[in-house]
Symmetry: C2
Subunit: 360 residues, 2 copies
């Protein structure tokens, strides 16, 4: 990435518009005319209104949105501290699995009618080049943040820029709904550190079991997060600083996807803990981005609840998922489509000749 190719993140953030409350109100008015008790579709109606606010148009979509799930993979120097149940080789192996279509996200994206966009943001053991894997490597994994910053500020900005450019390209290609997913051995540790920075919560409250570690490894993980914060002193008021010091290439990249999508008025479906932390970083850079975010599920990761609270988002699903890859986002896209179909296809009391209690 040369300097000239970089998107100015500050300028991009400033370009993100507030979503349109009047369009949301108009969408609710149209829903209220349909043959169902007022508000009886609950959170599906909220979804319809949010999507209208994002489009800036109260009326329904003629067709369901074209969908993509951006899955970014990268490795983490902090994995050397023994914070994961899996070896670091798995990150690159899983990117190959995504490219071949064998992973959970491939299956669930297929069910949701979403294309999977696989991005290597910097894995330690890259798979052989394949057309299905976009090479956007910032480096061969981050440095171990217990010894110093995970990456430079320039690298964090490059990762943000990469994600933003990718989202913009998808929007230009007609994608109207973007899901985000992550892959990176050690990335729940980086996410816990970022969650601690952004929410102010102590490390033990935002650290979880990741892919599945025992009690000793869990205590080590909390300690690793604490050391990362002590050694680096990330600035809570500067999200780029936090991403650089204790983040990851894929986390910064996904924050960039959120910014790029929001700037293009495309809604973003979050996945679990890692993607929500990335979204929180994006919202700290551009508060208006919040209106473009849809929380898909509540992960079993301990910190996820606090991060969703900080985002002011209530997830649609609570299925004890803890996989990542964008799997929860893919499941939530099914609900988004159902909500949009309701707004486009249902009859009104008048058109169906049904007596309306609301009008009595």
């Amino acid at each position: 990435v040369t300097d000239r190719e970089l998107i100015d993140i500050g300028a991009l953030a400033a370009r993100i518009e507030e979503t349109n409350g009047a369009a949301a109100a108009e969408a609710q008015r149209l829903l209220d005319a349909k043959t169902k008790p007022l508000r009886s579709l609950g959170r599906l109606e909220d979804l319809v209104c949010q999507l209208a606010a994002i489009r800036g148009v109260g009326g329904p979509l003629a067709t369901l949105p074209k969908k993509a799930i951006v899955v970014m993979g990268a490795d983490h120097g902090v994995a050397a501290e023994g914070v994961s149940a899996y070896p670091q080789e798995v990150t690159g192996q899983m990117l190959l699995n995504f490219a071949r279509g064998g992973a959970a996200i491939n299956v669930l994206a297929g069910q949701a009618g979403a294309r999977v966009v696989v991005v290597d943001m910097g894995v330690a053991y890259p798979p052989p080049p394949r057309p299905e894997i976009q090479d956007r490597r910032i480096g061969p994994g981050t440095a171990n943040f217990t010894c110093g910053p995970a990456m430079t500020r320039a690298e964090a900005l490059a990762a943000l820029s990469t994600g933003a450019a990718l989202a913009d390209a998808l929007a230009c290609d007609g994608v109207g709904l973007i899901g985000i997913g992550d892959m990176g051995i050690g990335n729940t540790t980086a996410s816990s550190a970022l969650a601690a920075v952004f929410t102010g919560a102590p490390p033990e409250e935002v650290t979880g079991r990741g892919t599945g570690i025992d009690d000793a490894a869990f205590r080590r993980k909390v300690d690793v997060v604490r050391r990362g914060l002590t050694v680096n002193r990330p600035d809570p008021s500067d999200a780029v600083d936090a991403l650089a010091k204790v983040g990851g290439f894929e986390i910064a990249g996904l924050a960039g996807v959120v910014l790029g999508a929001a700037a293009a008025r495309v809604p973003v479906v979050l996945d679990g803990f890692i993607t929500s932390v990335a979204a929180l970083a994006a919202v700290r850079l551009a508060p208006n981005a919040s209106g473009y975010l849809i929380a898909s599920h509540r992960s079993v990761e301990a910190g996820h609840r606090l991060v969703l609270q900080a985002l002011g988002k209530m997830p649609l699903l609570d299925l004890d998922l803890r996989l990542g890859e964008g799997t929860g986002a893919a499941l939530a896209m099914l609900l988004v489509d159902s909500a949009l179909a309701i707004s486009a296809e249902m009859a009104t009391f008048e058109s169906a000749g049904v007596s309306d209690a609301a009008k009595r």
Copy 2:
């Protein structure tokens, strides 16, 4: 319905087999070999295992199941007590709306790839005959249960038989997943009365706001439920008695669908409060039927939580729905398909060449 056509409900209930725990264990073993941390797909994995237990086969399905949502409509004499925000004409009008494809259930069933089977179990104002509406009328609505039983025991058995025969016909037609839905002005009142009978909870704990009523109407509704129980003294140990005295034609019919489906080893996706009460009636008649039930969502109706507890079921969704018609069942079918696709399509650690922590 003549006597000869009636299915013997006791014999049907006795024919329902326990689901197969060994098949569930085999399904979990197969899931554990796939490229994801153990149990990281949480409740989707539970779904896969339950469906394997129902089939009696641990291996995946080659194709996703053919789906139908049975929506039964009927009227309730108790509507005369002013317990609903809508006039009784709406029940028949909505059946017509279902037949024409304009209702929420048509849209959501379409998204889930499910056929909608519309059944008139006895509405007060029947729409003109149409091929899309099956005429299985037990009568022109039930009697007002505050003055005596809602229906005779023979009518309750006829309604159960009707539902069971319908489920059996769907199973013979290759349907592998049946959702159930309800339509009936006044039917949350009947369901609250049944919930009180089956769970032993006092009327005020199992009575909610239905389609949307004010405080005065709510107090009236609780009182109506209490009077129904006092006047009729339904026998908690005899579900047919309870269905007859304070139930409804569609509620008994849906209980029959559950029994017929379970006897044919077809899983049943519940919707909200009314269908869950129907399922609880079925489980009281045939405890083994419980293994065939999938709870779709937690309704905002007050009694639903207690009924789900009595069924021992945790719903997949919690979206503040309170519409009925089978809408929650349709949404949950999307998750069922996604779970089944996972079990059929995901690569294993071995086939994908990914290092497996579980094997280290």
